[in-house]
Symmetry: C2
Subunit: 237 residues, 2 copies
């Protein structure tokens, strides 16, 4: 059961017209998702809104979820510039992390309501849509670079054994925060803001403490835990 014809993705070369059609379909889909949610939107509506036939919509996107994946890919292309614009390299780690996360939340905010569709299979690394899947690996790794950069720029000193895993851990923390944000029904997502502020303060504080000699064994045990688990479908805990 493999695909008969290679479905056109952003990476494969498309003619100008094709590129335009693809974009129109994706935009129509996202507009409808925003308006009525992911489940409530049908492929037939998307095709109509984009002014193409149903068959054509499926020509460009294998499935309805592929549209969500395309959105995720688009975010991956557009986000880095937003993040770079928001971050002040001379600032402390807490400020930088705040800036990175805020830039992302601001970027995703208009589509917050349907992002749940993207995160439905989040925990399953076998699902292509999962942030832990092999299919999204390039996105994940590029994303972790922001955190590596922030760690470097902030000049925060962290013992090397832990520092090695820190970008990944910070990324994971950020994923948890975003997940919380998606389903946060407090007014203007105020709960997320509080959670973000308080947890970041604790986290950065912890990082300052973790290099103390008394905490050496704790640190080593944390690193051991991380090593034992990584490469698996990561999670909280």
């Amino acid at each position: 059961m493999f695909k008969k014809t290679l479905p056109p993705t952003r990476s494969t070369q498309l003619t100008e017209k094709a590129e335009d059609t693809r974009t129109r379909i994706l935009n129509a889909a996202l507009a409808l998702f925003r308006r009525k949610g992911f489940e409530q939107t049908t492929m037939r509506e998307i095709a109509e809104e984009a002014g193409v036939s149903l068959g054509n919509a499926y020509y460009y996107f294998e499935s309805k979820e592929a549209l969500v994946m395309a959105f995720y890919e688009r975010a991956h292309m557009e986000l880095p510039s937003h993040v770079r614009a928001a971050v002040v390299p001379a600032a402390g780690l807490e400020e930088q992390l705040t800036a990175i996360i805020n830039a992302k939340l601001a970027y995703f905010a208009p589509n917050r309501a349907f992002l749940g569709a993207l995160f439905r299979h989040a925990a399953d690394p076998a699902n292509p849509l999962s942030p832990f899947s092999t299919e999204t690996r390039h996105i994940r790794e590029a994303d972790q670079q922001h955190f590596a950069q922030a760690l470097e720029d902030s000049g925060m000193h962290v013992p090397k054994d832990l520092a090695l895993h820190l970008p990944k851990l910070l990324w994971l923390y950020q994923m948890g925060l975003i997940l919380f944000w998606i389903y946060d029904r407090s007014p203007r997502q105020l709960s997320t803001a509080v959670l973000q502020k308080k947890s970041l303060a604790l986290l950065v504080n912890g990082l300052k403490l973790i290099r103390l000699p008394i905490l050496r064994t704790v640190r080593k045990r944390i690193v051991e835990l991380v090593i034992a688990v990584e490469g698996e479908g990561d999670d909280d805990a």
Copy 2:
């Protein structure tokens, strides 16, 4: 969009025949889920296997996912005795927590493969199937009792401000662990075993340290964070 007729649940009184039919459908469904997975199983198959019509299956279960919910309910009824049998009240906290978690994993193990269906909407507190929903509140609260009991029996001394939230936090930790376990594809879920052992050791150790006067402010900040967030759709982070 509310239900037209009250759909029969375990809690509402059913005639003997109805109870039997309902159970037959549920058992057929679970058998098929185990055999072929949740997605691969159709409602038509379930109805056939149970010897009822499709419409009748829907009379007892609003949706395919409601069958998973019923499984969750059944587990909620059966689990406490398993947990109580596994726990030694005189043991230390780490041993007791290990016993509780192991009892649950052992109970769910035969159905591990399709449990992902239950956890797909886990993060969305608005979804009835979510462990954070109002619909599953009674299960959640009964479940947290195991942890409250273990804390009490172990005689572990934890400052009261934190102790108040600890059953909830331990339950959350356990949910994360179970989620990890569901998608753990290492042989015999060994990764989960390692994660469980190491994280529990760290956690119990942290609880011993947290009462030290030097960590008072850290503790207060943690408690503040928990308070600010609870009542919301909880998550990791």
